[in-house]
């Protein structure tokens, strides 16, 4: 397989590729490369933090005692931060690239937020477990997750007083998209989800007295439907496959939608709603590797951050620094702006975020200084930056340049450029790079990462 195609695949299905792996994969054909990607992601690895210090809390103790309740929420919120950084760390270190990338994708599809670490941890792993599985099972599992039941108010959805929030978002954002259902469909389907609740541990519970067992009329059919029935009926609409495939295309291929390709994917997906089959079809398609798609996507903040630290390993000394960077770049994992999630693409970029993105590699790796030493200039103060690297004030990091240098020891400066920069360099920038002194791969790495071109994958 061509190097450029492997890089493209690994950026879209993962977070880039190291020189070693790229070298190994170059000897395989497309079928083998794609197979290996799925092979490595065949079984999910649970993401879990130590919650033992929270395990002595019981529902009873919290119900009775208001200050205990507050204490629980505070501790739980702290644990969420730990879980966030563990997730980021997983993205940086994992070999299960595709599963983790899909998890990220679905977490921004089935958007949810909660303060209970147990429920969020369970929710996150439900996404991970289903990320390449059966879409119908996936939606049903999501509808029964404690965090979701709370987030979209199914917990308040009772026979006597239905709450439409979940039913509406189920169709608008999770399955069909705006305009493919009526207000009446929402009202009726909301009744099917009445009584959805959960216990303290986060297990699903159907509260029978609150559930509406009556007849509902949904999509011109009438029956005593429950939530799973409604989801099955939604999946019968080909629009559901179209809606999901459109989103897949926009995320994995190109934001500029090619309706024919979406229809092609939807036809594959509609057959069995198997996500793995869909993704396999996508990555095996010749058009996935078309020149127009390569380097056409603006990296999300997480893709940008993870990609960077997969190239130069960086250890953050404080949890809050990892969170701060996510916040400033506009994407804090587990903390989406609203139920529609992050829009992505150009919306990541404005005057503010572009500046920070260009600045961040040097902030993390070179004390916020990017070398502008031109060819023929003396080796000078630049070395000093590195000697001071542990006094970095914006964030406190430990940089593992040794690993970087080992990884790229066989790469020339030109190789390094091709491996870090996916799109074609713009003419002016190409010219400027040539004027810079090429004494140190570290400097060159920071220079490359500080270019607008590095923001693309």
């Amino acid at each position: 397989m061509k190097q450029q195609d492997i890089q493209h695949l690994y950026w879209r299905a993962g977070f880039g590729v190291t020189p070693d792996l790229l070298n190994n994969l170059s000897n395989l054909d497309k079928h083998q490369v794609v197979n290996e990607l799925f092979q490595k992601s065949s079984r999910p690895s649970r993401l879990e933090i130590d919650t033992s210090e929270l395990e002595h809390y019981t529902l009873k103790s919290l119900l009775k005692n208001k200050s205990k309740r507050r204490e629980f929420i505070t501790k739980s919120t702290d644990k969420l931060k730990v879980f966030n950084t563990l997730w980021v760390n997983r993205l940086v270190t994992t070999d299960e690239l595709l599963r983790e990338k899909m998890t990220l994708f679905w977490a921004n599809h089935f958007v949810c937020r909660d303060t209970n670490i147990f429920h969020i941890q369970q929710y996150n792993n439900t996404i991970r477990n289903n990320a390449l599985g059966d879409f119908g099972d996936f939606v049903k599992a999501i509808s029964k997750e404690a965090a979701m039941i709370k987030y979209l108010n199914n917990k308040q959805n009772r026979k006597q007083k239905p709450n439409e929030n979940f039913a509406r978002e189920l169709m608008e954002l999770f399955t069909l998209g705006e305009g493919h259902y009526t207000e009446e469909d929402i009202k009726e389907s909301a009744r099917a989800f009445t009584g959805y609740s959960h216990d303290f541990e986060g297990e699903f519970v159907l509260r029978k007295r609150r559930h509406d067992y009556g007849f509902k009329t949904f999509f011109d059919h009438t029956g005593r439907y429950d939530g799973d029935d409604i989801i099955d009926m939604i999946l019968e609409q080909k629009q559901c496959a179209r809606f999901i495939c459109r989103k897949i295309y926009s995320y994995f291929v190109n934001e500029i939608i090619d309706e024919h390709k979406v229809e092609e994917l939807a036809t594959v997906f509609y057959k069995d709603y198997n996500i793995e089959n869909l993704m396999r079809h996508l990555f095996m398609s010749d058009w996935f590797y078309d020149e127009v798609h390569i380097g056409s996507k603006i990296k999300s903040p997480i893709e940008f951050l993870v990609g960077m630290t997969r190239t130069v390993p960086v250890e953050f000394k404080k949890t809050k620094d990892v969170l701060k960077i996510q916040k400033l770049l506009g994407q804090i994992l587990l903390n989406p702006p609203n139920v529609a999630g992050w829009k992505g693409g150009k919306s990541w970029i404005d005057s503010n975020t572009i500046m920070l993105r260009l600045k961040l590699p040097s902030i993390l790796l070179a004390n916020a200084k990017i070398s502008i030493k031109e060819k023929g200039e003396f080796k000078d103060s630049f070395e000093k930056y590195y000697s001071k690297k542990n006094e970095n004030r914006f964030v406190s990091v430990k940089i593992d340049w040794e690993t970087f240098e080992k990884r790229y020891s066989n790469s020339s400066f030109d190789d390094l450029k091709h491996q870090l920069i996916i799109p074609e360099l713009s003419d002016g920038t190409k010219t400027y790079l040539k004027t810079l002194s090429q004494n140190s791969k570290r400097n060159f790495c920071v220079q490359l990462m500080s270019l607008p071109e590095y923001q693309m994958c």
């Binding site: 308040q156 005057s351 503010n352 572009i354 990017i370 799109p423 607008p452 693309m456």
Partner: protein, 396 residues
């Protein structure tokens, strides 16, 4: 001190000491064709419950529908025979008494959408509810009449769709100094100096380059303006008040910014509404009060109009969790000093003649308010920006 640095400082010094005062005063007025009137937009994000904000205390239907979250008569600041303010809106009542507040009831649009995301988009893009626009109404104003990102500033870390145009976006900043420092890197300058690929796709890489170029010069301009101004009032200590504090500083610096955008979130009160909403209304009212006083003291209030909206109101009937679900029409506040008829612009719609979802019916299209503000306040052609002619109201 190197030579360049010194030169910079001495230019700065000369501008401070040697420019005659009357020239500086003149600078603070209009320096472009945009005029000097400014618009400050505040979004109460999440869907503020208008009925518990301006309360119809003589309406039995209101109390019948809200047995546990209806606000009791004795707690309301009554201003007409029918309507009164939430008790935490006392600062707003003062503005009302001074003729600085216009309240427009039942503002909405046909076929209301009850999703936060979508309805916010509708308000920010000024679209029909079945129409999807990729640009915001302020963004299109920039496209027609602006030429720099800083012509519209959002006081936040990120930019809303409202300020995104086809060819030009506004800029977001919570802190002009941080913005400036980030933009000043010699490496970036070199990269940008070499930039010559005008043909790069606007869709991605070209967009990144152009955004960077505009960002660098805007950051510098905003910072230099910002540091010349100060606040003349104490503000409450919260993030929303800080947004208005920064806005005031920028307005009083004479910056060429026509529109400021800020927001206060948390109004999505499905559960336990009473406490949540009253806490937020307090933050809103006290911050706005400080802001107005600050502008008045510095002589800029006459040329400032403050528009407060929420993406939708909430259902008339409360839900089982002592909260309210997403609704439709609600009230809009306009604060300023140039009103024809301050106070209530219109009556509240009937609480018994609701739409099929049990929500208030709209009687004023929000785009009529936009059209009025564009035409009568900012003095521009509203139809090109809103893509349609909307009836102008006569509050200004």
């Amino acid at each position: 001190m190197d030579r360049r640095h010194f030169l910079k400082q001495s230019t700065l010094a000369s501008s401070l000491f040697f420019v005659p005062n009357f020239v500086k005063a003149f600078e603070n007025l209009s320096t472009t064709s945009l005029g000097y009137k400014r618009l400050v937009i505040i979004q109460l994000a999440g869907g503020n419950d208008g009925l518990n904000t301006i309360i119809p205390f003589n309406n039995d239907v209101y109390y019948r529908n809200r047995p546990t979250i209806g606000i009791q008569k004795k707690e309301i600041i009554k201003v007409t025979d029918e309507l009164g303010f939430h008790s935490n809106l006392l600062p707003l009542k003062k503005l009302y008494d001074q003729g600085h507040l216009t309240i427009i009831n039942n503002v909405g649009y046909p076929n209301p959408n009850r999703s936060h995301f979508r309805s916010t988009d509708i308000w920010q893009t000024a679209s029909n509810s079945d129409q999807y626009l990729q640009t915001g109404w302020i963004g299109r104003y920039l496209d027609e009449y602006g030429n720099k990102p800083y012509n519209a500033i959002e006081i936040d870390d990120s930019l809303s769709l409202a300020l995104k145009g086809q060819n030009i976006n506004g800029i977001a900043t919570k802190n002009p100094e941080v913005l400036f420092r980030t933009s000043q890197d010699p490496y970036f300058k070199n990269v940008l100096d070499h930039y010559q690929d005008e043909h790069l796709s606007e869709h991605n890489l070209g967009y990144l380059y152009k955004t960077m170029i505009a960002a660098e010069s805007s950051a510098k301009y905003i910072f230099e303006k910002h540091k010349t101004a100060s606040n003349k009032q104490e503000y409450p200590n919260n993030e929303f008040a800080n947004q208005l504090k920064t806005t005031s500083k920028l307005i009083n610096s004479g910056i060429e910014t026509k529109v400021f955008y800020s927001s206060l979130g948390g109004f999505d009160t499905h559960v336990g509404q009473l406490n949540k909403q009253s806490r937020l209304l307090k933050i809103y009212a006290e911050s706005v009060e400080a802001f107005v006083s600050d502008l008045k003291e510095q002589g800029t209030f006459n040329d400032t109009l403050i528009l407060t909206f929420s993406e939708f109101g909430r259902r008339v009937k409360q839900n089982a969790a002592n909260g309210t679900d997403h609704g439709a029409a609600s009230n809009v506040f306009i604060i300023g000093n140039q009103f024809k008829t301050p106070g209530f612009y219109n009556d509240l719609s009937s609480l018994s003649n609701l739409d099929d979802n049990g929500d208030l019916k709209y009687s004023v299209d929000f785009r009529s308010i936009y059209a009025t503000v564009l035409r009568k306040w900012l003095g521009v052609e509203d139809k090109t920006i809103l893509n349609k002619n909307f009836t102008k109201l006569d509050f200004i």
